[in-house]
Symmetry: C2
Subunit: 388 residues, 2 copies
């Protein structure tokens, strides 16, 4: 396979579920897809044309990997971007571009970018560390409640602290370079995924509405279309397009938005890659986010993003009290439900609340899709017989 010349060789940094689903999208065109991650137990390992063992945060590994392919992309931001800059210098196409990844990885620079480009976001201030935050609070410049975000390294709810009172300030503050944000007066959390190609062609996916798990701080549920009016929808899509275009990103950009009770749309943060909030596009949209990302980074025409059916997506999490080799109890019960599309990531071991898969449910209405998604999650338990 490695000597094929009909399509450029694509290298994906990261072999998690997003990498796996990129590989699945590439399978329809039989694309030559290389994946780099630590070992063969990762979800994408078996679905890559060529899987290479290595560490995407290690410079030498990324360089060696990137030199074997024609186009490099990512499924996670936490990679060694110095190696990506070097690959660009050597003539390898890298999408998203390394400087965009650098900017997005640093939540401080990301917020400053919104401020500099007139893109509405929550009020914020950058700090060197926890001590400086405490001084700002003592000086009366910041009042409870507020959100502290680590500038780098955050993922899936990690690196974020909500500081509601003096006790939180004493106990929960992260001791790292950070930014403070005012708590937005949030009515809904929305997400809009945009694809942008090297030529500047853009396509916007339908707005989704996210609901978070009350304690785990993970997206639990997403529905599409979002329950918002046409004007709000158009403004959300417009903001997402503006961010993608001002950034000049190539590939997907997932734009997380707050809709306030005043009807204002604020950018929360972005991810320059396929995103959890776009899983449903596999079944619910004319083109999936995964195929769209491949089209964009290959400089091919982007596909239509129309929603075919109302959709609801839930994550399938490891059951509490179970750790070890995963079993999917109730699988037949789940499959008895109509228009329920489960995706398992093949992670070798389950752990409590670990993302082991997701289900997209479709229906004539969002309410039907959502009820089916809920039934699906209730039907299946991801357990281990290794002991509780």
């Amino acid at each position: 396979m490695a000597d094929r010349k009909d399509f450029p060789k694509i290298g994906i940094l990261g072999g998690g579920q997003l990498g796996k689903m990129l590989c699945q999208a590439g399978a329809d065109w039989h694309l030559p897809l290389y994946v780099l991650d630590q070992n063969h137990s990762y979800p994408a390992a078996n679905y890559a044309t060529v899987f290479m063992r290595g560490d995407f945060s290690n410079r030498a590994d990324v360089l060696e990997f990137g030199r074997k392919v024609d186009v490099v992309t990512i499924e996670i931001e936490h990679i060694d971007t110095a190696a990506l800059h070097q690959l660009v210098a050597e003539g390898v196409a890298v999408y998203p571009q390394p400087d965009k990844i650098d900017l997005i990885k640093d939540k401080g620079r990301q917020k400053q970018f919104y401020a500099d480009h007139g893109i509405a976001t929550t009020a914020f201030e950058l700090f060197a560390g926890a001590e400086e935050v405490r001084q700002a609070v003592a000086a009366g410049r910041w009042a409870f409640p507020f959100v502290q975000k680590a500038r780098t390294g955050g993922y899936d709810g990690q690196g974020v602290a909500v500081i509601r009172d003096a006790q939180d300030l004493a106990e929960k503050l992260l001791p790292v370079p950070c930014l403070l944000e005012k708590l937005a007066d949030i009515d809904k959390e929305l997400a809009v995924i945009v694809a942008r190609s090297p030529s500047g062609e853009m396509r916007v996916f339908p707005t989704v509405e996210m609901e978070f798990h009350p304690t785990a701080n993970l997206v639990e549920f997403l529905i599409c279309p979002a329950a918002i009016d046409g004007d709000t929808n158009a403004r959300a899509a417009g903001v997402a397009r503006t961010v993608a275009d001002e950034l000049g990103i190539v590939g997907l950009l997932a734009v997380e938005l707050f809709l306030t009770h005043d009807g204002e749309i604020l950018v929360n943060e972005v991810a320059p890659r396929p995103h959890n909030s776009g899983h449903h596009t596999i079944e619910a949209c004319m083109t999936s986010q995964y195929e769209q990302h491949l089209r964009a980074i290959l400089d091919l025409p982007l596909g239509p993003t129309d929603l075919l059916r109302p959709a609801a997506m839930i994550n399938l999490l490891g059951a509490e009290g179970h750790a070890g080799p995963a079993f999917y109890d109730g699988w037949a019960d789940l499959l008895r439900l109509p228009e329920v599309y489960p995706h398992l990531y093949g992670k070798a071991e389950t752990r409590p609340f670990r993302k082991m898969g997701h289900v997209t449910a479709l229906g004539d209405t969002v309410a039907v899709a959502r009820a089916r998604a809920t039934q699906a999650r209730e039907a299946v338990r991801i357990i281990s017989h290794a002991g509780k």
Copy 2:
């Protein structure tokens, strides 16, 4: 991967495009899928969890392969079924069941089965060879035109001769055990795919209408829904269900039908596996034929088969005059078309009229879908730079 116990290990005999698409369907659940075929250049090789080199028509190879898995299935009928009978005796689940494959592989036994079960088919007679056919014609028992079919070994239009006159009788008759059939007075050729599980649960896919290439004797175009009235549709589905149930097959059964100008529905032949006439189910139906086959052979509940959008499917064939490593000229032009879903099989070399892939096009109407499919085929040329 090989030591996973969360799902049964599935072994697929044959690594062609149907095997590849079975693997793609299994990827959503991260199923452990083993594939046997001759070498890594076969379409499914890279999409199997474990690809094993071997010959599915070789007894020892099939036995060795089958003993490594829990459930054996096929993507082609031309396999060593004696090995499959042996595997069943050893406790391996084999679906479709070996005796059903034996019956279907022999077109003579297949026709006799229809006759024995009151299932309408074209009038036929079995012959030991070409000489016996000539005697029957000389004796006035068979009159031109008629169709001669080899009892075994036919595939994709091979093993079939249309005998229109004395010259055809002299030159085209196949020198093998065969059956003669009257030429049906065909209005349309239809296909209905049924899935049946071990428990007897059945689901029928919407009827498709097939159009054949005028010279290559390959299905060129299929459209769904077929342009037939509701009563004809119900009768076609009923015939397909009857055949599947009388056979007691487990897995998919693709039933090819003739609709005569008198409105009669005749069974032409069946295939106990995913079928070319079901490619469009990947995008156009609630459950794809590939996932449905996996559900059936794993004794899991079958999925709904509703058509989501009108569909047209065409094969992508190698351009005339080109043989060698394949290039897909015009790929960007193809991708500019909306709701056009290309599938490439990754065959290393193209040859004139070789099936290199297919395109499913969707639309609000069959006419729109069909126009898009035609545009797609016109956009892309599968060529080789190895010379003409």
